[in-house]
């Protein structure tokens, strides 16, 4: 018994010595009242090679929110400068979005930004990356009074379209972007939002060559891109030229490359239904419907051909076409060789369209 008592005494002395001398092992103080989580960061180009970073503080408590902006040369430096200007400590653990200005992506590339996010284990790999055209800080300042939970609703929108790939928008998170960036035979893409007259709206998809933004697909091109690659689904696909709206468009794509790797046949099978038609054709007539299908088909083929041509010219491959050269029993091709091949490749686009005709409605003509 004496031995045990002695031992307990010794141990308690060691413990007291350690704790009292301030050798406490946990240095970080995570008391919730003293912290303010950051929900998003907006990055844009500052003066003299610096980066301008803004966010809304405090993002979660009920106090009045304000936009804070700092210019820094290193991204993580912003933690210090924000902390010095705000009474609560900032934490990145709840970050949900990273908003990057178009200029930054176009001129400097975003590899360094991505690497900063990837190295911090606190930052989730699920944060959304978004490209913004226009002055996002100004938009925040103008809009914050009218719409207090601006950041949250923006996040909710992205989340909604990400789940189950509901079409409409390209939504890309950090993990997906990183994979597209670092995998051979693929180039990343991001959604683009434009700020116009105090409103923010989806504009299209930004295509990257490595980490540099080179092109923004808008309107019809972007719709086709959603069909071909990103979501394989669109709720509505208006084709203004033919005065028709296709609804619930589902697509399946198939890629065939010939042995000499000079021609690629890209087949898109589409299932859809006509939801609106303002043209002159008699769609109840099977022959007319067949003709009309062909019109849609050639229209889509032409548009897609142009889109793919553009990608080839820009030397970007967001559709990951190169992956189709991989085979289970052969050595993967060198990426440089693929890039050379891709530039020259003859890519044939083929659409097979399956359309349910207008139902429960009469055509205009018949009523006359």
């Amino acid at each position: 018994m004496r031995l045990r008592k002695k031992m307990a005494k010794k141990l308690s002395i060691i413990f007291m010595a350690l704790w009292l001398t301030g050798c406490a092992p946990f240095t970080e103080n995570n008391i919730i009242e003293e912290l303010t989580p950051v929900t998003f960061l907006s990055l844009s180009k500052g003066d003299e090679g610096k980066i301008k970073i803004s966010t809304i503080l405090p993002s979660l408590s009920k106090e009045k929110k304000s936009v804070v902006t700092q210019e820094v040369s290193l991204i993580k430096e912003v933690l210090r400068s924000f902390n010095l200007n705000f009474y609560q400590e900032m934490k990145f653990g709840q970050m949900r979005m990273l908003i990057i200005n178009e200029d930054l992506g176009r001129n400097e590339g975003i590899m360094s930004i991505i690497n900063v996010l990837l190295t911090d284990p606190d930052i989730s790999l699920r944060i959304y990356l978004v490209i913004v055209k226009g002055n996002f800080e100004e938009y925040l300042e103008n809009q914050l009074d009218k719409q207090e939970n601006l950041d949250y609703s923006f996040y909710q929108m992205l989340k909604h379209y990400e789940e189950k790939n509901q079409g409409e928008l390209s939504v890309v998170n950090l993990h997906e972007f990183k994979n597209l960036l670092y995998t051979p035979y693929s180039d990343p893409f991001l959604p683009v939002f434009k700020i116009e007259n105090d409103a923010i709206s989806y504009k299209g998809t930004a295509l990257f060559q490595n980490d540099k933004l080179v092109e923004i697909l808008t309107t019809f091109d972007d719709r086709i891109f959603q069909l071909l690659h990103n979501d394989h689904y669109l709720a509505v696909l208006p084709i203004p030229k033919l005065q028709v709206v296709l609804g619930h468009v589902r697509s399946k794509t198939k890629v065939d490359i010939n042995k000499s790797l000079s021609t690629m046949t890209y087949t898109v099978n589409i299932d859809s239904r006509i939801e609106e038609y303002r043209g002159e054709k008699q769609l109840f007539d099977p022959q007319d419907l067949e003709d009309f299908k062909k019109d849609i088909q050639s229209n889509l083929e032409k548009q897609t051909q142009e889109l793919v041509k553009k990608m080839q010219e820009l030397n970007v491959d967001p559709l990951q076409l190169g992956i189709h050269t991989l085979k289970p029993f052969s050595k993967p091709m060198d990426e440089k060789k693929w890039i050379e091949l891709y530039k020259k490749m003859d890519i044939k686009i083929k659409y097979n369209i399956n359309i349910n005709p207008l139902t429960d409605a009469n055509s205009k003509r018949q009523n006359l």
Binding site: P25, F26, E28, P121, L125, S330, K331
Partner: protein
């Protein structure tokens, strides 16, 4: 005051416990970093092949367990090798145990530090983990073996979570191409030894023979444990190929934990933290077993086998290990280049011990003429 009952033998454990121990001792640390070194998709076949090799080892082990000598512990070994050789061998064994202890503990505490307590000194984490290991080991070999059930229940289901990565959009079949090796490099060899080393662990069960109740079913149980490990390795490795793609795989320092960070749940956001904490049960189990083995081996090596285990002696050996760990952490583990040396050393040592121990036991048994049939233990 009661004497410390470290190596008492009141009850024996059946094949089920052996199965859990085989499996958990193979899932310690290397499986968490394995994908970083394997990289190529054809390594899946290598995992399976080494798994089959490990199965052969398991066969040898089960033969050993079926002999009466295996249940006699120290005396059995003396009968086989002679007193002096046993002392020498246990002295050599000390280094193997130490190396394994260092790699498991330092590797795991580094992970905890990076993902959970970035501002905490990793020496403190080592200290706290060692405290809990000391507590478990203090209860003796029997209770520690029983602890494997808790450790198994806390951790075995985790690999099922990774099924999430087997579905599109994350999984693409092309991530697994090419499925046969097109060229072999030095790294591939290193990969083979790494896998072999991660399969190692069950050879230490040889020294726990007295606590096992072995019968004809033991081989079956041992194989189940090994098979579960093969499934877990292949599952995790395939998931990491899908998630990272083989090009990025080598860049991720802790691939499996990084993958766990991608899980999302509306209630618990950082599932990886919960998983890491539960994994700690497994580490505590393994380290406690190794602490006991270390103390036992050091007693044999110093020729004090006849004396009962003493508190001071056990505490002293744990203290020495703790100090050793902290020193190795400061001098070797914290710098990446030197860490690689230690990892390579463990890769070699693990493979070596796993290959050599079971074969030696069987060969020596054959030479000494210990016949399986004459000495088979009665069931129960």
């Amino acid at each position: 005051m009661e004497a410390l009952q470290l190596f008492n033998k009141n009850e024996t454990y059946n094949g089920f416990y052996v199965m859990l121990m085989v499996n958990r001792l193979q899932m310690l640390y290397f499986f968490l970093i394995m994908p970083r070194f394997l990289i190529h998709s054809y390594m899946i076949w290598v995992i399976i092949a080494v798994g089959i090799l490990s199965q052969l080892n398991i066969l040898l082990l089960s033969k050993w367990f079926l002999t009466r000598i295996s249940s006699e512990g120290y005396n059995g070994f003396v009968q086989l090798f002679g007193k002096k050789l046993v002392r020498l061998l246990s002295f050599i064994g000390l280094f193997f145990i130490l190396l394994k202890l260092f790699v498991i503990m330092l590797g795991f505490s580094e992970m905890v530090q990076i993902f959970m307590f970035p501002a905490t000194d990793s020496n403190w984490l080592i200290f706290f983990i060692m405290l809990s290991c000391l507590y478990v080991a203090w209860k003796g070999v029997e209770k520690t073996i029983r602890f494997v059930v808790i450790s198994f229940l806390c951790t075995f289901w985790m690999f099922l979570f990774f099924a999430f990565f087997f579905f599109p959009p994350i999984a693409q079949l092309s991530d697994l191409y090419p499925i046969i090796p097109m060229e072999l490099s030095v790294n591939s060899w290193k990969g083979i030894f790494l896998i072999l080393s991660s399969f190692s662990g069950p050879e230490f069960l040889v020294f726990l023979g007295p606590w096992f109740k072995t019968n004809n079913k033991t081989f079956r149980y041992l194989s189940y444990g090994n098979a579960l490990t093969v499934i877990e390795y292949v599952f995790l490795y395939m998931a990491s190929l899908f998630y990272f793609g083989s090009n990025y795989l080598s860049k991720s320092q802790f691939p499996v934990v990084t993958m766990a960070r991608y899980f999302q749940n509306p209630v618990i956001e950082r599932i990886d933290m919960v998983m890491l904490s539960l994994e700690l049960f497994n580490i505590v189990f393994a380290v406690s077993i190794f602490l006991l083995l270390f103390y036992g081996a050091s007693k044999i090596a110093s020729g004090k086998m006849e004396r009962p285990p003493s508190r001071v002696g056990f505490l002293f050996s744990v203290f020495i290990i703790l100090i050793g760990m902290i020193l190795v952490n400061e001098w070797i583990w914290k710098s990446d280049e030197k860490q690689v040396i230690l990892l390579n050393l463990q890769i070699l040592a693990g493979s070596l011990s796993y290959l050599v121990v079971p074969i030696t036991m069987i060969v020596v048994m054959k030479i000494k003429g210990v016949n399986k049939h004459e000495t088979t233990k009665e069931d129960g």
